[in-house]
């Protein structure tokens, strides 16, 4: 394959290929980014976007292919080398020390000696120049997630990058913060900085990006000018078929209160966590209550208190009228509670155990244990049924949990909890890191389940998701819960303001 180099391109990739054993993560990927262009790399989870970005950033070495930087062929051996070339990257998961200040964190990433006072001045000037207000002296643990992201971006900008890579940058931001970020990115682009923007959120790409390269299963499946496409046409390129729409029929049964939470207050075990402050809510049978908000505002504490991982005052949590606040997670499960936590590996599933054993983890109540002895054949049968019913792609029920992709493991965990016929299902971040197709399937599953009379409480950072599946929506900010509103009465703007909390500008 011969491709002429485009002389005025900032970055050109030609035939990049990367294999991990049998899996081809990147197959002959070519990509061109012009100076000052905001270029989207669009693809589902596991499509190979992250691998490609790591190759550009020098964290992973490609097996084949060339990389041209400003028309010159380069070998990027390390992230350090990438930074020297002028490539900056803002990762999805921040790498900041919570006990250090903003400027100290930035100083750690810079090469060579530094003068903290002078650096603080530079941080201040760069941050005001790009509309990213930051106080260099503040400790990172006191910053909101949006502010932490600013630290990461400013850290990159201080090195005067010519190319900035952002990996799913908006997953933790309020709608307002997303708009601010976009303004900053557009300003950078006007100044000639090229931006590679990785996302699976179609409307963001449409509003922000000049061009898009779509990747599916490690191959480039399309080039597009996002503003000329529809979300449906982009989705088709990304997942190879139409994006299914969630069907929401009305609940036909008689609703009764399944979960009742009264003035639940609980301190956080995490020193940087958020205490719950008199949270009250009700979930009826046949409905989905959505809790919006940015992680770190009491979500973990609320779910731990409801699931029984962190027992609370007995009367604060009631399941069908029965006080269960003092019970542990196992006792609550005995009463018909199911729970899908946000961390799949290590919490929802034991990484080094098979799916069959992971079925046993919570579904042992389904006749898998007699006289203290486990029937592993029954556990395997249960796991096989979950795999078949929810279309989990895996190497069978003996596959280790950690060998599954995030989306497939999530399907397995959701399936395991649903197959136990819970009366109340708690779901935290149902589609985090799950590809678009699987996410749609999971959402439909939750809706269908609720319409069979199950009460469902969903905590999610993705507003669109909550608007798609919830009957009522409340916002958790700073440990306080806003009164739940029917979905029809909510709008993204108002919810965004509540998410930002009282201190928001």
């Amino acid at each position: 394959m011969t491709l002429a180099s485009t002389p005025d391109a900032r970055l050109q990739l030609i035939g990049i290929t990367k294999r991990y054993h049998a899996l081809v993560a990147n197959d002959q990927i070519s990509l061109t980014v012009a100076p000052g262009e905001i270029h989207a790399v669009l693809g589902e989870n596991g499509a190979g976007k992250s691998t490609l970005m790591k190759i550009i950033y020098g964290a992973v070495r490609a097996d084949a292919g060339q990389m041209l930087w400003n028309g010159r062929q380069v070998e990027v051996a390390s992230p350090e080398a990438a930074r020297r070339l002028g490539i900056g990257m803002v990762f999805q998961h921040f790498s900041l020390f919570e006990t250090l200040s903003v400027v100290e964190n930035i100083a750690l990433a810079l090469e060579g000696p530094f003068n903290l006072a002078a650096l603080a001045e530079r941080v201040r000037s760069v941050s005001t120049q790009y509309g990213l207000p930051l106080d260099p002296g503040r400790l990172v643990h006191s910053l909101s997630v949006g502010e932490r992201q600013r630290v990461e971006i400013v850290r990159c900008l201080l090195q005067n990058p010519q190319l900035l890579i952002l990996d799913e940058p908006t997953s933790v931001l309020t709608p307002q913060a997303v708009q601010k970020l976009f303004e900053t990115l557009r300003q950078l682009a006007r100044e000639g900085v090229s931006i590679l923007y990785i996302s699976h959120k179609l409307h963001e790409i449409q509003s922000l990006c000049d061009r898009a390269t779509v990747i599916r299963s490690g191959r480039v499946t399309g080039h597009a000018i996002p503003s000329q496409e529809t979300p449906a046409s982009l989705a088709r390129m990304m997942i190879g078929r139409e994006l299914p729409h969630t069907e929401m029929a009305p609940f036909t049964g008689t609703p009764h209160t399944v979960l009742q939470v009264d003035a639940l207050s609980a301190a956080s075990p995490d020193p940087f966590g958020t205490a719950l402050d008199a949270v009250s809510l009700q979930v009826q049978s046949g409905e989905i209550l959505g809790i919006a908000g940015i992680s770190g505002n009491g979500q973990n504490e609320l779910m731990a208190a409801l699931s029984g991982e962190a027992p609370v005052a007995s009367a604060a949590v009631k399941l069908e009228g029965r006080a269960i606040g003092h019970l542990d997670a196992g006792a609550r499960r005995d009463l018909g509670l199911g729970f899908v936590p946000e961390e799949r590996l290590g919490r929802g599933a034991v990484p080094a155990m098979s799916l069959s054993r992971n079925a046993l983890l919570t579904a042992h109540r389904q006749g898998m244990v007699n006289y203290g002895l486990v029937s592993y054949t029954r556990a395997a049968e249960f796991a096989r049924q979950v795999i078949a019913r929810f279309g989990v792609k895996c190497g069978g029920e003996q596959a280790l949990a950690r060998s599954l992709s995030g989306g497939n493991l999530q399907k397995f965990i959701v399936g395991r909890e649903i197959a136990q016929n819970p009366r109340l299902l708690l779901v935290s971040q149902p589609t985090w890191g799950v590809d678009v197709g699987a996410a749609a399937q999971l959402r439909q599953t939750l809706v269908d389940l609720s319409r069979q009379g199950v009460a469902i409480l969903v905590v999610s950072e993705e507003l669109e998701e909550l608007f798609e599946i919830c009957d009522r929506i409340a916002v958790l900010a700073g440990g306080r819960l806003s009164p739940p509103q029917p979905r029809a009465a909510c709008n993204a703007e108002a919810i965004g303001l509540l998410m930002a909390g009282p201190q928001a500008a």
């Binding site: 350090e80 542990d328 499960r333 290590g346 034991v350 983890l361 919570t362 002895l373």
Partner: protein, 354 residues
């Protein structure tokens, strides 16, 4: 920054290949050692590993020593699987022996068929009690069990020492720190005429079967294993972390206490200061060398027993110091941990900065 980085999928085959590899490396390092000491390595190995097994008596001695090692290691392995590190089995063994010895001493004169079963019961419960103290300290005060179990070993040792020096000292014992000799009704019956191996070996046999069933089929073992591998998942599923601590330490205390009974009511026949040649510590190596598997532990227990015998033979035939046994045990553990480190992790050169 990291020289070793974790492997995504450590090979199972290699995990089982590690013990033989560690044994091989121990033998190699042992040869170097013998050469440095001016001994012919081949001759030394013959004395160490072959000579003890050239007679029927040698085999019976092997079983005598393998019994307590396997018994203790089976109990320890249950805890180790749950990541509860009881390294004080030696102390639990001693306390179990003290309890059983107390029964034997006070029963003297009116002993009967009930005496030995009562000693077994007292020893087992005593070991369990000694293991329950660190469990209480951990669940109540979050005290590290690795420290408390080890420290309680010294307490048990001093308790034993006080008992055999003062209240329980044999009046006819020429002032040696030891108790009276136990009577026949207070001893396990030898399996063969003239051998020291006795019916206490059946405790180890039963333990192997029980623990094998436990690990293979029980929900309890599953819960413990989840607690060890992923504590957050255990809390998610509602498996009590406190129960894990209690069960692990009580079970391993129980088996160590029973092993203590086997010693005082077996080859030792009294309470004295040398009632265990460090079985409680050696069993830790046995448990890991057997990959914490109930059947693997049988093999590793036999090997460790052979090291004890070989060490004794080397003292007699080669005039090597008694420390040779501990040295070989130490090398074995060192090479095993080393092999495991490279199976769980891969080596990476420091090419790029993080």
């Amino acid at each position: 920054m990291h020289l070793l980085e974790p492997r995504a999928e450590p090979s199972r085959t290699l995990q089982w290949a590690a013990p033989p590899l560690a044994i091989l490396l121990m033998l190699l390092a042992g040869s170097v050692l013998f050469l440095l000491l001016g001994r012919d390595p081949l001759e030394a190995f013959r004395v160490f590993f072959i000579q003890p097994l050239e007679s029927g008596y040698g085999w019976s001695e092997l079983l005598l020593k393998a019994g307590p090692l396997i018994l203790i290691a089976e109990g320890l392995a249950i805890g180790f699987r749950a990541r509860i590190y009881n390294i004080g089995a030696e102390g639990q063994l001693i306390f179990g022996a003290v309890c059983a010895g107390g029964v034997a001493i006070y029963a003297q004169g009116h002993e009967g068929s009930w005496t030995l079963p009562l000693m077994v019961l007292a020893g087992g419960l005593g070991g369990m009690f000694w293991g329950a103290i660190p469990a209480l300290l951990k669940t109540r005060f979050n005290a590290e069990e690795t420290l408390t179990t080890l420290m309680l070993t010294y307490v048990a040792n001093f308790l034993l020492s006080w008992l055999v020096h003062i209240p329980w000292r044999d009046p006819q014992g020429m002032n040696f720190p030891q108790s009276v000799m136990f009577s026949d009704a207070e001893l396990f019956t030898p399996l063969f005429e003239g051998s020291r191996v006795n019916t206490s070996i059946f405790m180890a046999v039963v333990a192997v079967l029980v623990f094998w069933l436990l690990v293979k089929r029980s929900f309890l073992a599953f819960r413990l294993e989840v607690g060890g591998q992923a504590p957050t998942a255990a809390r998610y599923a509602g498996f009590s972390a406190q129960a894990t601590v209690w069960v692990s330490l009580c079970v391993s205390g129980l088996t160590a206490g029973l092993a203590g009974v086997g010693e005082v009511a077996g080859p030792i026949g009294q309470l004295n200061l040398n009632l265990s040649p460090g079985y409680g510590y050696a069993a830790i190596i046995v448990a890991y060398l057997g990959r914490l598997h109930p059947l693997g532990i049988v093999l590793s227990g036999l090997l460790m027993a052979l090291l004890y015998l070989g060490g004794e033979a080397a003292q007699m035939s080669l005039q090597l110091p008694a420390a040779i046994t501990g040295l070989f045990q130490g090398m074995l553990l060192f090479f095993l941990l080393g092999a495991d480190a490279f199976i769980e992790n891969r080596f990476r050169f420091l090419r790029r900065a993080a």
